[in-house]
Subunit: 306 residues, 2 copies
């Protein structure tokens, strides 16, 4: 619920913590309701285990924020917001598999395949991926069908070989390869994490009926914060402890992965991230007061410590 | 006279071979055009390796047939027809993984992970699954958007935890369990293979604008041929050679899997399959002359030897 202020009082400074504290519980509740236990329980338990494991819910937050910014209401965007988190979760489950990054911990908990076995983990990912599309197609309210179809198409592109999967493929191929360029690193991250962040930002606006110009502006914002997010991730992998991250720290060095700090060092990486965030903020500032959550989220990305 | 003779002559009997020979090349061409090579090539090569590995294209054929039967035209259904084959292919790639059925051969060729590695095979499946939804949402022509959304939602349900994945989970849990009942076996097959066959049949009709009654009739047909198909599959696993099947024969016995022949014996299994096919044919006969492909496809299922 949005509290309206008296028109006479000066606007209170935007408080991201309050904003997140307001929305995160609603997102948690929507995710909890979206995937309920049924026969065969194992698959639903495995899906819920990773889907409801916490996390910042950054993608749903971004989707709800741009829907709001463009004059839409939450019910229009919530199914897509949940779908974004389902897909993000699926990508983590599959990434953590022994055949991929072989991680035992994620968000401070055992990874899905460590609890349910590799077979169930693969299937839980498949089920979350496909359910994301069902959830959008079946539960989106008060949005013309052609707009919903566009979100389905754009989201699918962001996840497939032209998006997340393509980034992951290049990432796997680059491991231990010391001839990786910064261009390849950019490709990896604009696809592996950037594409899903971009559709998180644009989908909310599209569902609210934003015009192409506004969607393009928001794409520019999203691409910049996506890359900044990844640069900060690379820095944190070096500077933060495993306890702070809730996952193994120092994995990139161990895996001999090319990272932004390996090209630029830590300080220059931080500077580049800050510059991207500044550009992202400048891009959305003209959209008016409703852009405050996007400005604050951009700042949050460079300021975060885990 | 020639004119009189031709109007008096009985209609030529429906020829399934000619029918398939007409449609299969168009499906192959559409699949080939749907997934083209691009950077990063590895993922597209892996997707194409399994997608274009031949096979009967039964699911696309069924989708095109019911679209045609309900007065639609091929362009309305072809993207969905291709999507069905993409999803079927993804399920085979993931099923064949070492963590699942651990198969080295499929359709007479090395399985995807034997050629590209497990990591790429997992991602190729993910990419095909997600591209299926993009392909329908972006390329379906001359169909109202709400109908396309319904197909997206119904297809996703057929693939996820309520469908294919659910069947696969119960199948994995039942392996080596000698207390499996015929009801569990039915659950496995109506979900693992039946759900995708059912949406193959109903999606074509939905896209063509069929009413709910016709869609329900076609669902009944599809459920019966789906189960018959699986019973015949179980029988062939015992009676056919690996060469005929293009994959390892006798896998079910080896894996101590419950099968229809293990409950009923081979002859009774064949009788049950025939009865289901007879019922399926009786269900669609009232739909008129256009139902001939569906009648012939039902017969083909019990008559096939591989």
């Amino acid at each position: 619920m949005v509290m309206t202020q008296s028109t006479d009082s000066p606007p209170s400074p935007f408080n991201l913590k309050t904003y997140l504290g307001d929305r995160q519980p609603r997102i948690e509740a929507a995710l909890d309701a979206a995937v309920t236990l049924a026969y065969p329980e194992t698959i639903y338990e495995a899906m819920r285990y990773s889907l409801l494991a916490g996390g910042k819910r950054l993608r749903p937050i971004l989707c709800l924020a741009t829907c709001d910014l463009m004059g839409g209401h939450e019910a229009q965007a919530m199914p897509t917001a949940c779908a974004l988190e389902m897909i993000h979760t699926m990508s983590l489950i599959h990434d953590d598999l022994p055949a991929m990054d072989n991680d035992d911990y994620r968000r401070g908990k055992l990874t899905n395949h460590k609890v349910y076995g590799e077979d169930v983990a693969i299937l839980a990912g498949d089920a979350l991926l496909t359910y994301a599309f069902e959830h959008i197609a079946r539960h989106t309210q008060a949005v013309p069908a052609d707009r919903v179809l566009r979100v389905v198409a754009d989201l699918a592109r962001a996840v497939g070989a032209e998006g997340l999967v393509g980034g992951q493929i290049v990432d796997l191929a680059s491991e231990g390869d010391d001839s990786v360029t910064v261009e390849t690193l950019n490709y990896i991250h604009t696809h592996k994490t950037g594409a899903l962040l971009e559709i998180s930002v644009t989908s909310g606006a599209i569902l609210a009926g934003a015009d192409d110009g506004a969607v393009a502006t928001l794409s520019g914002y999203a691409r910049r914060i996506g890359l900044a997010f990844q640069i900060v991730d690379d820095v944190l992998d070096i500077t933060a402890t495993s306890e702070e991250l809730g996952k193994s720290a120092g994995k990139d060095l161990q895996a001999q992965k090319a990272t932004y700090p390996s090209f630029w060092g830590i300080e220059e990486s931080r500077r580049q991230a800050q510059q991207l965030v500044d550009e992202a903020k400048a891009a959305v500032q003209p959209l008016g007061a409703g852009s405050e959550p996007l400005l604050a989220l951009a700042d949050y990305i460079v300021a975060r410590t885990h």
